[in-house]
Symmetry: C2
Subunit: 316 residues, 2 copies
Amino acid sequence: MAAVPTLLVLDADPLPRLGRLMGRVRVLHADEASLAARLPEADVLLVWDTTSHAVRAAWPGEGPRPRWVHTAGVGVDHLLCPELVASDTVVTTARGLFDQPVAEYVAALVLAMAKDLPRTWDLQRRGEWRPRESRRVAGTRAVVVGSGPVGRAVARTLKALGVTAAVVGRVPRTGIHGPQDLDRLLARADWVVAAAPLTERTDGMFDLRRFGVMQPSARFVNVGRGRLVVEDALVHALTRRWIAGAALDVLGTEPLPVDSPLWHVPGLIVSPHMGGDTVGRRDELGEQFVELFQRWAAGRTLRNVVDKRRGYVPGH
Amino acid sequence: MAAVPTLLVLDADPLPRLGRLMGRVRVLHADEASLAARLPEADVLLVWDTTSHAVRAAWPGEGPRPRWVHTAGVGVDHLLCPELVASDTVVTTARGLFDQPVAEYVAALVLAMAKDLPRTWDLQRRGEWRPRESRRVAGTRAVVVGSGPVGRAVARTLKALGVTAAVVGRVPRTGIHGPQDLDRLLARADWVVAAAPLTERTDGMFDLRRFGVMQPSARFVNVGRGRLVVEDALVHALTRRWIAGAALDVLGTEPLPVDSPLWHVPGLIVSPHMGGDTVGRRDELGEQFVELFQRWAAGRTLRNVVDKRRGYVPGH
């Protein structure tokens, strides 16, 4: 290790608060265009711009490369190329900082759908007073797909609202259902929440067959990754009223192009991947990285380390 | 009491389920126009259409009149005329059936405002992908004005979401603040929820001065009665950014006329008095009335009896 390691920051956005590292690190910045050229001289890569997919293409392969990559997000599907997976470079995430914000966002979407708020806004724009009956949330059933901290926080928050919430993970354990229970749970759910990482196993898992299993009164929410959902299948299911509604905070293509038909599907709420972005989060992300950096610089074990073959941080 | 008492039902809407009373009561129906002519022959008046203000004008005064009036709602401000207050006629409400639905509705509005959902819908209509930072709800502070079952349910539900919620009532008691604490609590609140009955004491209580006490980041929700709020003052407060947003599910004039400027105030959500109207509620209201009727017919003490001078059902 050089006396002063080089930290390369991939950022499109305002900088994190790295003041506490001053003098202990040489900080370089890269945008998507300059990333490939700068990666070989970096000891550490901080992926501050979590919307970028540039790391995968820019990764140096066999050559000199960062020994540690940290992303200021929770998903790593857009980072992991085969060379990075095969290498001894450690990948860490911002695990833990998105749980509560995303859980609140899911609660907001669930309640908005239950109370028919999108239609209320539409009627308000037109000055129409039209009372309707809406749904109670307490006493309904949810299934949350994804047993990481986000999925578990979603289940906790829904339970606090009186919802019976089951969590499905890759491996069954106490309080977590295994994949073999999924279809049975989907068939009874009022709310289906996707909060899983994007991996080979989850890619496209919400397809025509799975939407077909759901109740006509069911509503679907995706806060995991866009590609968990076969979007054409979801549109089909909504258009044919196989399910009653859906909300996507993550899309297969982000930003969603202005001419995408997904913006205008009846019963579909589209929001711009903002469920985890709450005021103050940038500071928290910066502080979390500084803390991890101090561990790394001291030669201690890092936290939030990704199992690169599985594609997420395992464990509780 | 006649062998078979006469039940007069004021309804604009589908009937409640009165089948269980068949043979034990003579049921008459009235609309607003026929109410005054039919009231003198009724032993019991069931105000099924809770949006009507006709009872007040139609009340017979000194003449023959119902001995019991039940409303399928929780507010009685629109029923109580001086003659009814002075009489020995008992007034009961649907207390208990609206608590959880209205509490969920408040949670839906609070979360929608925290997560900026109205703007998200607006952007969706235009096909614009514009991520923003939103607010966390956990860790914020709410004050709920109104210590009846609805206000307390609102506080419980907000607490379940991690909000610190204080309740203000007419009389301080364990867990309930008295009116003398109101301004201090308003000055620190992120959320101010009005869930009080409309009485002489609460009429217009949210006025320019009270909106002026609130924080610029505060958001206001009214699920009590429209006239708790001086609407011009609220518009002023929103327009001058004294507060950050508001949601009114109850309005001074209902239905709100199509040409009301209130439909189009920036930062103001208007919904058509539907917070308590959840699927299945009509059946519950019908069953509750049947149960009360059976008590009344057996000469037993009624429940949910209004203190007509105070203008609400007192007690826990």
